[in-house]
């Protein structure tokens, strides 16, 4: 189908923020056929060497932001996004693309999207398990995704998928080359694998 002139495979780098295990994500990206590097610190060569940056995050909002700031990722990611390059945030890695979170009100997020994370309004927390996505995107419509979170973005003008847990929240967001997934594509079965392949293309 594709008549792309630039048919070389994408080069994908996963940002290691020392926040959770990267094995499943790395396996998913490699299985999709992309060349993969895991990077702890930003360096200027990344801008020319890589096409896609994937930023997974687990744990508290403040911890993930502290890792981002301590290793100099904040400035680098601003540069990356300014250049229109693709950035994919997963779980807390999506939350930090926003301005902040009620989990740690004094911590500033990256602010690529407007809005703040709020605690899920459901008696059982964390939300753990599978939910069907309400999405207009063919890649996500009516698919089941695996969630593990206690906080989420409730409203976003750039939301591409929604899910209900106590109330509605943004399961996925996208603006241009900036992607966020609140769920874990690397744990979401065959659907998740295909989504990773698609988003790293």
């Amino acid at each position: 189908m594709s008549l792309s002139v630039n048919s070389r495979e994408s080069k994908v780098a996963v940002i290691d923020l020392n926040s959770g295990n990267l094995l499943s994500l790395e396996t998913a990206i490699k299985t999709a056929g992309y060349s993969l590097a895991t990077v702890q610190k930003p360096h200027v060569g990344l801008l020319t060497e890589y096409d896609v940056l994937v930023m997974p995050g687990q744990g508290r909002f403040a911890y993930v932001m502290q890792q981002i700031d301590a290793t100099g990722w904040r400035e680098f990611l601003q540069e990356w996004v300014r250049n229109g390059k693709r950035l994919v945030g997963i779980c807390v890695g999506m939350q930090v693309l926003f301005e902040g979170s009620d989990e740690d009100p004094d911590t500033n997020g990256l602010g690529f999207f407007k809005g703040r994370c709020q605690k899920l309004s459901h008696p059982k927390a964390p939300m753990v398990g599978w939910a069907k996505l309400d999405s207009y995107k063919l890649t996500m419509k009516d698919q089941y995704a695996y969630f593990v979170n206690s906080y989420a973005i409730s409203e976003c003008a750039f939301g591409t998928a929604k899910v209900n847990y106590g109330s509605s929240f943004s399961a996925a967001v996208q603006r241009g080359n900036l992607y966020g997934f609140q769920f874990h594509p690397e744990k979401s079965g065959q659907f998740g694998r295909e989504l990773i392949k698609h988003v790293c293309q």
Binding site: N21, L23, S24, T27, A28, Q58, G59, H122, P123, K124, A125, P126, M127, V128, G129, W130, A131, K132, D134, Y144, Y146, F147, V148, V163, N164, Y165, G166, S167, H184, E186, K187, S188, G189, Q190, G192, R193
Partner: protein, 264 residues
């Protein structure tokens, strides 16, 4: 709850979780003579259950305390690099360092039973360092001769003098993300889950409860979910090939339970 109606305020699905007993890096089955029957390769069996529609898997290393951990860690790494659904690992976890090794090898969650009772601080430590979603506390209860329910550890061999209700509240306070609640008096009987027990921890309970012990057929899964279980764990009926995960799910979907449909 998990009933499928459009006014529900939750899209979360009830999970179906096959449980595999492992020893020395193989899937095994205990017999009455304490011999272990080799049931196959963990990666192949895990992939088979993933294809059948399992939402998650649990591996319990029933010999971990004897064996040391290397074979279990090797197995976890292989499973993690071949599976695209989450899985928990339990058996023989004694310290925060053990927990770190299992997460490093690729496990999504750890399950604690004996150590939770003997060193309850470990629950707080794991929850603080890795988050409550990473820890499942397995609570084994047995119906005694006077019909009261008693708490057990050591794979169901040692009775503990703690009220199970009080214990469950305590592990939740300490940061457990889920409770794996096994009714020992139902385990292996095929007489269905203990729905009275499950009903004590229903929709308003602050963490999810995984029902275990007694499944014979799809109607037992339905009864457990109706009683309030958020997820249902079973071993024998899957391993013996009596039901595929997909058949259980189809039955639940036909009975209007919110389930991750993998048949499309």
């Amino acid at each position: 709850m998990y009933v499928n109606n459009k006014d529900s305020n939750s899209d979360l699905c009830a999970r179906i979780i096959p449980c595999l007993d492992v020893a020395y890096g193989r899937v095994v089955k205990g017999t009455n003579f304490k011999e272990l029957l080799d049931m196959g390769d963990p990666v192949e069996l895990a992939k088979m259950y993933e294809q059948q529609g399992a939402d998650e898997l649990v591996f319990l290393d029933i010999k971990a305390s004897v064996d040391g951990q290397q074979s279990a860690l090797d197995m976890v790494y292989k499973v993690a690099t071949h599976l695209s659904i989450p899985f928990a690992v339990g058996g023989g976890i004694k310290t925060l360092d053990d927990v770190h090794k299992f997460f490093h090898a690729g496990a999504d969650k750890v399950t604690l039973n004996t150590m939770a009772v003997e060193k309850p601080d470990l629950i707080n430590q794991i929850s603080t360092q890795y988050g409550s979603q990473s820890i499942v506390v397995a609570v084994d209860v047995n119906q005694e001769e006077d019909d009261s329910l008693a708490l057990y550890t050591h794979g169901g061999s040692k009775r503990v003098d703690i009220d199970y209700h009080q214990w469950i509240s305590e592990v939740v306070d300490r940061g457990a993300g889920e409770i794996l609640l096994t009714a020992m008096h139902k385990d292996g009987t095929g007489s269905g889950f203990d729905t009275d027990l499950l009903a004590q921890f229903g929709a308003d309970f602050p963490v999810q409860v995984i029902a275990s012990g007694g499944a014979k057929g799809p109607q037992d899964f339905l009864a457990a979910i109706h009683a309030g279980a958020d997820a249902v764990l079973a071993a024998g009926l899957f391993h013996r090939g009596e039901y595929k995960v997909g058949q259980i799910k189809e039955y639940l979907i036909n009975n209007n339970i919110k389930i991750r449909n993998t048949e499309c």
